[in-house]
Symmetry: C2
Subunit: 309 residues, 2 copies
């Protein structure tokens, strides 16, 4: 297994849309810069929280081009390649490699259900063959609650064995701590990121290298305190704080809720827009969510200059 460049709090970045429904590059660049300024260890643009699969490949590639042009460091980027076809996944991965991105987050093909591990293995293999670059670093994206198709422990083992320099990590959004623990035990040196900060402290104690979490969009500083201080006396208390915030968010549909929080705290209503089939929070839900966060003492702090679009 090779070295891999990502550690700490990685954020699957929300994608802002313009009132006409197009990806909003200006807001996106400003937001990515702000997340890095807050201490994010990397940006998993084009994940589930990013509504990546609600955008075409060319829309995603144009956003990535825009980030790079704006000076966001490529080594901090781990674009998702979510696609059901090898053709599209390989094309998105190739594009990321051409930009020298630190890695890519590879969803398994998610249309057909109940496919055997052998079929998912063949998919990943062919993507690797088609990208054909020693610079490719793949992080497997295991999110069975949404994709339904996932990477089993055995399949992860086969992929690491076949492609030790390429398949270097995994985001575990199974929501199942036992699966995360099993990955950490079975594959030492493999970069495992729990897909929620709820498992961050437990994960770090077993060798995880950080987490990739939706709530990073609004709480990098809080989550980073756990990452930085996990060996310290405050670790459990800090973990309890971030778990409480996560639980408050999870009472609502996650992507619309996060966008509503960003819109509210940055006083920028455009941020609340989602693409169908997602639906924005209602007024009542929005008010309840902001009240819930207020009770937790949550604040995003001053809108930093780097957010200016």
């Amino acid at each position: 297994m090779t070295t891999q460049p990502f550690h700490g709090v990685l954020v699957p970045v929300l994608t802002p849309f313009t009132p006409s429904g197009d990806p909003d590059l200006g807001r996106f660049v400003g937001f990515c810069r702000w997340l890095l300024d807050q201490g994010a260890g990397g940006l998993s643009v084009f994940g589930t929280t990013s509504e990546a699969n609600s955008m075409s490949g060319p829309e995603r590639m144009a956003l990535l081009d825009g980030l790079i042009e704006a000076g966001i460091p490529a080594e901090k980027l781990m674009p998702g390649t979510g696609a059901c076809s090898i053709t599209e996944a390989a094309s998105l991965a190739r594009h990321a490699v051409d930009h020298s991105c630190g890695g890519v987050l590879l969803l398994p093909p998610f249309y057909y259900k109940g496919v055997p591990d052998e079929g998912v293995y063949a998919f990943v293999s062919r993507v690797i063959e088609q990208v054909a670059s020693p610079a490719l670093r793949i992080y497997l994206y295991h999110i069975p609650p949404v994709a339904q198709v996932g990477y089993s422990l055995d399949l992860v083992g086969h992929l690491i064995k076949a492609y030790p320099e390429t398949v270097v990590g995994l985001k575990d959004s199974s929501g199942d701590w036992n699966n995360t623990a099993a990955l950490l035990e079975r594959f030492p040196g493999f970069a495992v990121f729990p897909g929620s900060e709820v498992f961050l402290l437990d994960g770090l104690r077993k060798g995880a290298v950080g987490c990739i979490t939706a709530s990073g969009n609004i709480n990098v500083p809080g989550i980073k305190k756990v990452y930085d201080g996990w060996r310290g006396p405050q670790a459990d208390a800090l973990q309890a704080d971030i778990t409480a915030l996560r639980n408050a968010l999870q009472a609502y549909p996650m992507v619309p809720a996060l966008k509503r929080v960003v819109a509210h705290y940055h006083n920028d209503p455009n941020w609340a827009a989602v693409r169908p089939p997602l639906v924005p929070l209602s007024q009542a839900q929005s008010a309840a969510l902001i009240a819930d966060l207020g009770k937790l003492g949550f604040t995003l702090g001053e809108r930093p200059r780097s957010m200016a679009a």
Copy 2:
């Protein structure tokens, strides 16, 4: 509701791949021509059976361009637009309209799970707005066992009411006869196609206009006998025959099984290739399947001249 052009046995056409894994236009054209010669009422190219979601949009568009150039009548074509993004679904639908295809088969967005009807409605609405053509005819593609996201009865009603000239039919691959019956009762004049010939006779007796079925790839003549003779004295016996064949196929993964049957009966091993994550039948499965079909007296008949690539 407007008139709609499709009736009878529609086939979600298998997509052949070359040994290097690319879509095989020559074989595809020959096969489409053969299906029409056999009496198919239409070709739902790029459905689930077609491995459409294992191909990129440009790959699908190139195949459609090739069919049209080869003289396959556009009015017989109902291309699937399967995509998770409005951008891609609208682009594929627009391409079909530009070719004057008879209609399109519209999958709902299938990445996010548990989305509300309101979100799926907004998706379909925006696709219709973006195509912006009175020539667009949409057939809703309801296949919850695979897509997980579907079109509820209420949602179908809302779409018909809002777009009576555009949303003209539905393929019901729920596998749930009660759902098909409810659609037929609730929306008279709406073109309902059961997604399996198992429900063909029951469907016709309640007003269905045909079926769109994977097994059409190997059994248009048998299924058409039921469609043509459903009012006659042999209807139940004919239905029993096609149900038996379907049940034999369903003991195997459907797409690899159908491709194996085509490969076998046309003596063209290339046809057996599937794209990952699907996996071809093993030698043992292949032999068992062909034996099962033999026991049913199945024969595809002579390889017709129109199959020549």
